[in-house]
């Protein structure tokens, strides 16, 4: 994409019918570190790569819980993502308060999309520079949605966003047909493998990624590093890609070996 005379305001159309500022916002998503999502009929998994600005810094949070039954993974401008997560949490709380029931995921993504659309039609605003993978469970089963800065949203069986996400998408395209019947453990393994694809050669460790899951009988929560490392180790034992065998790979919940590990995965209170 090159600079042109129609890309200054978000309220200016190009002769070809494009809104360049919105498209530039989508570029911002592509620059962010990768996030992946996949779902079966009963569970949805989100994964993200933990990229820190430098060795001195801690990585930014990319996975946020919106409610017991919904969570999001973001890619792009993390600050925009944080603000939108707060919006999602508020919407979920408000709905629960009024209707005493969890907000259906499809309604949540529409509200989010409408909020994004507003920013594409006001001259004093700019589009949000963050893409969100919304994973949740409601009465109709598990769902995965992708919300664009443009205000569009799509439902997916599996998707990846952010830098080098094409590698993950290629992997997911090969395997998504069976995801509906996948077990919870296999979904997590595939999520980890998809994340590994985006790392392109770098060794996958539990420190480098964050994985969260939501499903039937399971509230949205981030899986602890210990368990993730066990999944990764089991994956490496089985040759090449992840296989369906290793249900011995389904690790038992174990105590953290180092207390420091647990402490470092806790976000600072300022990071909501």
């Amino acid at each position: 994409m090159f600079r042109n005379q129609y890309d200054t305001d978000v309220t200016t159309w190009s002769p070809a019918g494009r809104l360049f500022q919105v498209e530039y916002a989508m570029e911002a998503v592509k620059q962010g570190s990768a996030a992946v999502g996949l779902r079966s009929k009963t569970h949805a998994v989100l994964g993200a790569v933990n990229k820190a600005a430098s060795d001195l810094a801690s990585h930014q949070r990319k996975l946020f819980r919106a409610d017991q039954h919904v969570g999001v993974a973001i890619a792009g401008l993390t600050a925009d993502g944080r603000v939108l997560s707060r919006f999602l949490r508020n919407e979920c709380i408000n709905h629960s308060f009024v209707y005493e029931s969890p907000l259906p995921v499809s309604r949540l993504v529409v509200q989010l999309a409408d909020k994004a659309q507003v920013c594409t039609q006001r001259s004093w605003k700019r589009p949000f520079g963050v893409g969100l993978l919304v994973a949740g469970l409601d009465e109709t089963g598990a769902h995965l949605y992708y919300n664009c800065p443009s205000g569009n949203y799509f439902e997916y069986q599996a998707f990846a966003i952010g830098s080098r996400s094409q590698a993950a998408k290629t992997f997911l395209e090969r395997r998504f047909q069976e995801y509906d019947t996948y077990s919870r453990e296999d979904l997590i393994k595939d999520a980890l493998f998809a994340i590994k694809e985006t790392l392109q050669g770098e060794k996958l460790t539990a420190q480098l990624c964050t994985v969260a899951i939501v499903g039937e009988g399971e509230a949205f929560h981030i899986i602890d590093q210990q368990t993730i490392q066990e999944y990764i180790d089991a994956m490496e034992l089985s040759t090449g890609g992840p296989d369906e065998e290793a249900d011995a790979a389904a690790p038992p919940s174990a105590e953290a070996q180092e207390g420091g590990e647990g402490a470092s995965s806790e976000p600072a209170p300022m990071d909501i």
Binding site: R89, I93, P269, I272
Partner: protein
């Protein structure tokens, strides 16, 4: 009362008690819901579990009580999202006070007793009036049977004056079982003379291992 068109409240009766111990807190309330001389249900809980270590018991107008509990539960969820931890009992105590005073000019008709463990794991009881004036105490009771129960608790739990120096602990030295037995006794007594108290007693005990619930049948007349 029934003739005025603008009276917005109703007293659904009931009594709540809370007692703070060294490492536990007992919160109890009866389960009768009444209007006037009628009983609407014998099986209605006045107790709301707000957080890991915080339990709220309220008596008064159930419409307002339900709304107040919902409000606090939603605020607690928001707090958890922002701070990544549960609210402590003193924090919830202040929040409840502010929530009640917010409606100073159209109050929640709710008489509250908040119980739980404080940050050091000691029993913690806060007692409120309808507009949010609150105080940390060793024990308290609110509701229709409170005037029958409070003198008995004063006699049995003998809380030292908060004016004494050095500051004395207001929590009772009784054990958990002794405190629960005392609660059962006072409710049995209140049930005898207060028409709005009876049917069943719900007792909630909070200690380091979590929240435990127990029920006791009371007189149904």
């Amino acid at each position: 009362m029934a003739l005025r068109g603008d009276w917005m409240y109703e007293n659904n009766g009931g009594t709540c008690v809370a007692i703070a111990g060294i490492d536990y807190c007992v919160v109890a309330a009866d389960t009768r819901l009444s209007v006037g001389y009628n009983i609407l249900t014998r099986d209605h809980s006045k107790i709301c579990s707000l957080a890991d270590k915080v339990v709220l018991a309220s008596s008064g107008f159930q419409g307002d009580i339900r709304a107040l509990h919902k409000n606090l539960a939603a605020r607690h969820l928001l707090y958890q999202h922002q701070h990544n931890k549960q609210m402590s009992c003193p924090a919830m105590g202040q929040l409840l006070s502010n929530t009640l005073y917010y409606k100073r000019f159209f109050p929640y008709y709710a008489f509250n007793v908040l119980g739980g463990l404080d940050n050091e794991g000691k029993g913690c009881v806060f007692t409120y009036d309808a507009v949010g004036s609150y105080e940390r105490v060793g024990y308290s009771t609110q509701g229709s049977g409170s005037s029958l129960i409070m003198p008995v608790l004063d006699n049995q739990l003998k809380s030292p004056s908060p004016l004494l120096l050095p500051a004395r602990d207001a929590v009772t030295p009784l054990s958990e079982t002794e405190a629960v037995d005392l609660v059962k006794d006072v409710f049995a007594s209140a049930t005898e003379r207060d028409i709005y108290t009876g049917d069943k007693l719900e007792i909630v005990v909070i200690n380091a291992s979590g929240i435990k619930r127990e029920y006791l049948e009371l007189r149904k007349d």
